[in-house]
Amino acid sequence: MSAEVLPYTIKPHPVTGLYNGKFGVWLFLASEVMLFGALFSTYIFLRIGAPETGPAAWPSGEETHLSWKIGGLNTLILILSSVTMVLAWVQFKMDNFGKGRLYLAITAILAIAFVAIKFKFEYAHKFHMDIVPSTSVFFAIYYTMTGLHALHIIGGVVVICYFIGPGAKLWDQNREYYTNRIECTGLYWHFVDLVWIFLFPILYLL
């Protein structure tokens, strides 16, 4: 209703060079940086506060019960999904709706694969071994960080699926608007990838 009269919803502002949505997403990502920043801060805090030896010492290597193979595979999956996401945007930009939607679908499938691996081979496996968040502060921060990250992935999948399905109607009404929305979704998606790039080494490797 009021969306039609609002300036710069689709076309960029002549001075700032941004349409509203893109600026909004960047601001949202800034707050996300601070959200994950607090968790990274907690991680460092707990880690350097841990004693050198004894049962409360920070686990490393085998003691973490985390497989770098699964973590590495998930890293590759997420990087690949980032590429398909940006390629989807390129296709929409070049007016290839069909190809763009295909890339979006691949992105969604990869994301679902990531979550499935996470839950099936990591969480379920650890719960089976009776390793739960209350086991130690390492697992507490592991479950919290990866859990919050997984929630972000799931949120992203919902948005991507929306744009494959019902949201695609917008393409027929306004191609540029739709492409802009895909760009914003992409920015979010790359950010989620970027968080994982840090989570993987600090939890699985160090």
């Binding site: 960029p12 700032t16 060079g17 941004l18 893109k22 600026f23 960047w26 601001l27 800034a30 940086v33 601070m34 920043g37 607090a38 990274f40 801060s41 460092i44 805090f45 350097i48 506060g49 841990a50 004693p51 050198e52 770098w68 590495g72 890293t75 590759l76 990087i79 690949l80 980032s82 590429v83 996401m85 940006v86 390629l87 945007w89 390129v90 930009k93 070049m94 802009n180 760009e183 992409g186 920015l187 790359h190 950010f191 990838d193 970027l194 790039i197 840090f198 993987f200 080494p201 600090i202 490797l205 160090l206």
Partner: protein, 107 residues
């Protein structure tokens, strides 16, 4: 997404190249963890590789390399600054105490 780089198809090669680099860096970072470096060194290597990867994602996938909007850069600089303040909280705990004794001294 201004007209200056409307021809986005040229970017596709860059995206593929970045993907290849990210994949290689992932393998390197796993490989590096088997080097049995001293702990501070291992952390430095892993975080350095992760930072390179993150920069690639931000610059290429998130188009910061082509981004001319000053507001976005302003928000990023501001956020990075406060992010640094935030993750330096643990350092505050150690100003007057040796590492590893922090929590026990409060007991």
């Amino acid at each position: 997404m201004s007209d200056a780089h409307a021809d986005v198809s040229k970017h596709v090669k860059a995206y593929i190249a970045v993907f290849a680099t990210l994949a290689v860096l992932t393998i390197i970072t796993v490989w590096a963890s088997t080097w049995h470096l001293s702990h501070p060194m291992a952390i430095a290597v892993a975080l350095a590789i992760a930072s390179v990867k993150a920069t690639l994602v931000a610059m290429i996938f998130m188009h910061l390399k082509w981004e001319k909007a000053g507001n976005i850069w302003f928000v990023i600089v501001l956020t990075v600054f406060f992010f640094v303040v935030l993750v330096s909280i643990p350092a505050l705990m150690h100003s007057d105490r040796p590492l590893g004794t922090v929590f026990s001294s409060w007991g």
